[in-house]
Amino acid sequence: MNPYWGATLTSFFPLFFHRMLDLLTGKLAWTDLASDEIQVLVFALISIGAALIGTLLILKRMAMLANALSHTILVGIVIAYLLVGGVGGLSLNLGVVLIASVLCALLTTLLTQVIHRVLKLQEDASIGLVFTTLFALGIVLVTLLTRNAHIGLEVVMGNADALHVNDLKIALWVAGGNLLFVLLLYKEWKLTCFDSGFAKSLGFSPSAFTYLLMLLTSATAITAFRAVGVLLFLTFLVGLPLTGRLLTQSLGKMLLWASGIGLFVSLFTVALSRHLLTVYQMPLSTAGLASCLIGVCFLLAVLARGVLSLTFTKKPG
């Protein structure tokens, strides 16, 4: 019996914090976590990862490459599903999915580089060409292999309600990995993103960091796809850092704001979703709700900045 059944916004938060306290003090077992709680925790962990690597991605202007990755990872996941057995969104062999997705990420990046540098096509067109072709190829393969022309929408949209304690463990590992890589190499990230020429002269390799970032992105995307689907993961990845950027000029504070807003959005989304279900009998997509909330936060940040600073500089021309 889900303890959140019938909860509203006002009753959700106290109950949640009370149970979290129990969890930390050991009175509540991990396996007894309610689905709402798992959702909050998984979303929170995704947010932290997304905030960290999303910031690096937009500083390196690789946001659309991340978009491309998220599409091809989709195909990799589906094919991995088929190879391992049965499209159903049920328990997945994480090892297979992880490898398939990392391979897709590498394939996408590599092909894009080849088409851009060897075949000399401009970069935006190279990105667009590669990921749409791979995506189309994936759909065709899936149709031929499953004799079925419809791919599960779940992979695109995610299904937060089906989240399981296993997903929580995976999310924990990935968020931990993101934290580790970003914080340990913090000054190296700053250096290679800001001034790659100078970085090289000191002996660092900016391209190695780019590949590392791609790998971290695909790993985080996999954790996210079950909860929010690969496309809405991008709202976390790009929306959280952009909101943080509006609120501060310092890189460190930007990361903190982005993560903080992400945590808030995670908690509030699930609470709101439960509230709407209880009070209005409206079951809505939790992923969509989270995405919209991030949009709202962004809008608020824009207004806040507009109010605080008097100059909204327009680019000339």
């Binding site: 500083l59 340990l184 190499l185 000054k187 190296e188 700053k190 250096l191 993103c193 800001f194 001034d195 790659s196 020429g197 100078f198 090289k200 002269s201 000191l202 002996g203 660092f204 950027r245 501060t248 000029q249 310092s250 890189l251 930007m254």
Partner: protein, 259 residues
């Protein structure tokens, strides 16, 4: 071990290719210590390429370079690089202090955090370039001249013996240019060697001791009174140089299969 009196930089038969086309052809020169060297040449002459090759970022087809008589690997920490200002994203969320601090990263290595002593060093260096009041300022709010000073400060923090700078005076106000030249003179007095890619022929005589005239091949090299004259400039910038650039382009087209 290099000799005590070995030149700052020794370049022997250096040839660098872009694909199959030579960008630098058989460069030979011996740059003595404690001078201000101006590197001049028309567009595409290979000036930035020379700097990057010296730093080991580009691999030459042939030839070698020695720093104080030793290979780059041994002396890397003694060489500071100031890249072109345009190569950087000035909207990056970072302040002046932290940019300069990057000059310490090589010494710190990976995984170590900067300490208080490092920050004090940063302040000292910022003071030297006249940017101490701006330490906490966002770099997007700086003018061209101020940005350049920050870059120079970062190089100073590296406490190097050789400074390689790519067009430090491009897009910079007069006051900054004068301040920087004064600073470079001080560094020269301290025995440092400064090699600067420069674009303004008007100021060459007053700024530099020696010059290196480049147009893919070495046109001339030596003290400014001996080398900076009309005939050499004609060779470097004149119609014969233009012909040179054209043939270079043709050679490049042949090697990449373009029409």
């Amino acid at each position: 071990m290099g000799e005590v009196n070995s030149p700052a930089i020794e370049i022997k038969n250096l040839t660098v290719h872009y694909g199959k086309t030579p960008v630098l052809w058989e460069i030979n020169c011996s740059i003595p210590r404690g001078i201000l060297l101006g590197i001049l040449g028309p567009n595409g002459a290979g000036k930035s390429t020379l700097l990057k090759t010296l730093l080991g970022q580009l691999k030459p087809i042939g030839g070698e370079t020695l720093f104080f008589g030793e290979k780059l690997r041994e002396k890397k920490k003694k060489i500071a690089y100031v890249p072109q200002r345009s190569s950087v994203d000035w909207d990056f969320p970072i302040n002046v202090e932290n940019v300069v601090l990057m000059g310490r990263y090589q010494k710190l290595g990976m995984l170590k955090w900067p300490k208080k002593a490092d920050r004090q060093a940063v302040h000292a260096v910022l003071d030297r370039v006249g940017m101490l009041p701006f330490a906490r300022r966002q770099i997007s709010q700086l003018s061209g001249g101020q940005q350049q000073r920050v870059f120079i400060a970062r190089a100073l923090l590296q406490e190097a013996d050789i400074y390689l700078m790519d067009e430090p005076f491009a897009g910079v106000d007069i006051a900054t240019e004068k301040a920087l030249i004064a600073l470079f003179a001080e560094l020269k007095k301290e025995g440092k060697t400064l090699c600067i890619v420069h674009h303004d022929l008007m100021t060459v005589r007053s700024y530099f001791d020696w010059i290196l005239l480049l147009n893919s091949c070495l046109i001339d090299f030596g003290p400014v009174e001996e080398v900076f004259h009309e005939e050499n400039l004609k060779r470097a910038y004149g119609s014969s140089a233009y012909l040179f650039t054209e043939t270079k382009k043709l050679a490049q087209a042949r090697s990449t299969g373009d029409e």
